[in-house]
Symmetry: C2
Subunit: 418 residues, 2 copies
């Protein structure tokens, strides 16, 4: 940490000026550069810089969780893992992620492509806005990253490289373990539970089937080392325009179960769906588009995963064990991806829970103010069904068809749902 310091506008200009390739990209003189502080997350500084010739986005890890400044110190090393993640997946995801121009390992600072006029997908959802390409693009992103960093495509030695790097990202993975898999299922001072939802929270802590399901998902997160995960793939980690989709914020990267990224993204489509009737605009039309996204994302992921894996050669399913055109390899790959999707249903469930009764909540609900209780209870009702009966959700159409029933869920968990 010796030479690490938090950049402000003045020291940021100095840093940019000292990096020839970045200064060249901006053009002109440092005094010509317009710098804006646009951070809206909890963990990092983010600056957008415009110069006469070009623009940049600069992101720096802060040594604390912003919302709880002195209370929650946080290792700045996560920037190195974000940089490593971006570089590892870049060959596969292409324009679905911003380009990384430079990483400064001392300042824990990344200089990346500035995305404009992209907006954060969650903000769009809160405004009732929909982007038609997002679901297919994120499906492609997750299929590419998960096949190409798995034993289906990557030689064992490349996978070993990932395993020796990304498990060191302990600070952020510890946050996931605690906030996703542990705190919401016990009494914890970190949980943020609306008083009216206390009966639901108590039910989640006490239901044996849920406890069993969460235990299995937690063990899967800890031990199922299938592929390199983004690790935080919610609608706040996606920036979009009607024509372009980018995945950002890979600082939670780790090796784990592929279904974690899949379930995470599904969860935030579902959250937007439950929030829709309380938000702006035509809720029925917005819901229909989100339902289409659930189907397009799930089916698109499964289709592209199989397409990529069939052509790939790794140690997991070596083609030398199969004659050409032998259908068994394709069937084994289908079983693999269907297991991923089964996991995804469970991770969808725990993500809903932790965003409603856990520490880190989402604007989809928070922006509704007093109206957030009802959609949160409904989403918890779905989460319970997903955790207790994952096999009832083997395809996206079934998931979509099941959503409206949970609109009838209320504040008493005994009176509603499964």
């Amino acid at each position: 940490m010796s030479d690490y310091h938090v950049l402000d506008e003045a020291t940021l200009r100095q840093w940019l000026a000292s990096r020839v390739s970045l200064a060249d990209r901006l053009g002109g003189e440092p005094g010509d550069w317009r710098v804006r502080d646009v951070a809206d997350g909890n963990l990092n500084s983010v600056f957008l810089i415009d110069g006469p010739a070009g623009s940049l986005c600069v992101k720096q890890s802060l040594p604390y969780v912003r919302v709880a400044k002195d209370d929650w110190p946080l290792d700045v090393e996560r920037a190195a893992f974000e940089a490593a993640y971006i570089r590892r997946v870049a060959p596969y995801v292409g324009k679905l992620a911003p380009a990384l121009y430079e990483f400064d390992p001392v300042l824990r600072t990344l200089a990346m492509e500035k995305l404009a006029p992209h907006v954060i997908l969650r903000g769009a959802f809160v405004a009732g806005r929909h982007f038609p390409r997002v679901a297919a693009d994120i499906a492609e992103y997750v299929a590419q990253t998960s096949v190409n960093t798995s034993d289906l495509a990557a030689p064992f030695e490349a996978r070993a490289g990932d395993l020796t790097i990304f498990p060191r990202n302990v600070a952020l993975q510890r946050i996931t373990i605690d906030l996703v898999f542990i705190d919401p299922y016990k009494v914890s001072a970190r949980n943020r539970i609306l008083p009216a939802l206390e009966p639901w929270a108590a039910r989640l802590r006490e239901d044996d089937e849920i406890k069993r399901a969460v235990a299995a998902l937690r063990l899967a997160y800890l031990t199922k080392a299938q592929s390199l995960l983004h690790g935080d793939l919610h609608s706040g980690s996606v920036m979009a325009t009607p024509d372009d989709t980018r995945v950002i914020d890979g600082e939670f990267a780790g090796v784990g179960p592929t279904g974690f990224d899949v379930g995470n993204f599904l969860a935030h489509l579902v959250i937007a769906w439950f929030a829709a009737p309380f938000g702006p605009g035509d809720a029925a039309a917005f819901r229909a588009r989100l339902e289409g996204d659930v189907v397009a994302f799930w089916r698109g992921f499964r289709h592209r995963f199989l397409e990529l894996a069939l052509k790939a050669e790794g140690d997991g399913l070596p083609t030398s064990h199969f004659a050409a055109n032998d259908p068994h390899r394709a069937r084994l790959l289908e079983a693999y991806v269907d297991d991923v999707l089964r996991d995804a249903v469970g991770f969808l469930g725990v993500e809903l829970v932790r965003r409603i009764v856990g520490f880190a909540q989402v604007q989809d609900f928070l922006s509704l103010g007093d109206a957030q209780t009802a959609p949160k209870a409904r989403a918890l009702s779905l989460a319970r069904a997903l955790l207790k009966e994952p096999d009832a959700f083997r395809d996206p159409e079934t998931l979509v068809a099941a959503l409206p029933a949970h609109d009838h869920a209320g504040l008493d968990p005994r009176a509603t749902g499964a």
Copy 2:
């Protein structure tokens, strides 16, 4: 590799003399030390050194597989992983492993406790000799190492440490992937198949159910990161006296499915069982003792695993999710260990296969000369049943009871068995 050189007796004496703690342990002067070269494996030099005050075993990684000297170069770094493995499990296994006195990372050389009058368990088996403590001791060893390096007992951060170290042991884990999980199921120049067993080998390459089972086991080996494995826990990695048991040769160490070590050890009890009628001594009595070992090892492992895991606290099944005396945590642990044992049945099967039609074969059979065909065919018949119907072997009594039926298997795989 710059200062690495292969030790001979003269340079070994110099090395020992240069290490005060080792020289002190031996006592006297270097000229007083008796040095014997006792290597019998393929990968390492092993010397036993006796001095006036004490003794040592010195093991050095060689830069090639001995049997194929120039044809198969092999990274010497495995010695560092063996040293790391010994140190990582020492707090849990105590006297069940030899003490590591010193590790020289330049010469890739370990100085360890000399075991006397211990003999290699496989050699004892070949001689028809049985040690009554071994099964329970190895059960204790595997239970201790697998619980204490798993998410049931180790904090996530300690597990991350293992993951950043042991996946770098790629040279030896690549051997396991190729020789255990890939080569035996395809035509490979490395396979060593008795001509009379070609029909069996062909069957193993062509049976779709076996192909499916092996694919699942290979993916489990590659992705199921449950605990730190010894990775090569066969009867050649165990030294014993009637009163004492030690596990040696942890150079294949890696993070993987706990059932791999369990199934491996079971496989070599079963191999000895099939070889028994063709070896020296009272075959029926020896088989009865080996059957007792199968039951004692399996039941002992399961019992101690549960006992240790129940008292442990890790991120996998945090006690904060369960009330005191809540039976659900115990039931989840039972499901965990029974899943490990299910995996073990499969790994038992692939270990039998690879020791019979693969590259690295075992003295239990090889020592039988012309008589090895029959017991090998019988063991392959069992292996097929284990791979095709793992759920038929849910307890060790069933496994033991199934053994005699395979004594009727012959050279035609269509005529026999399941």
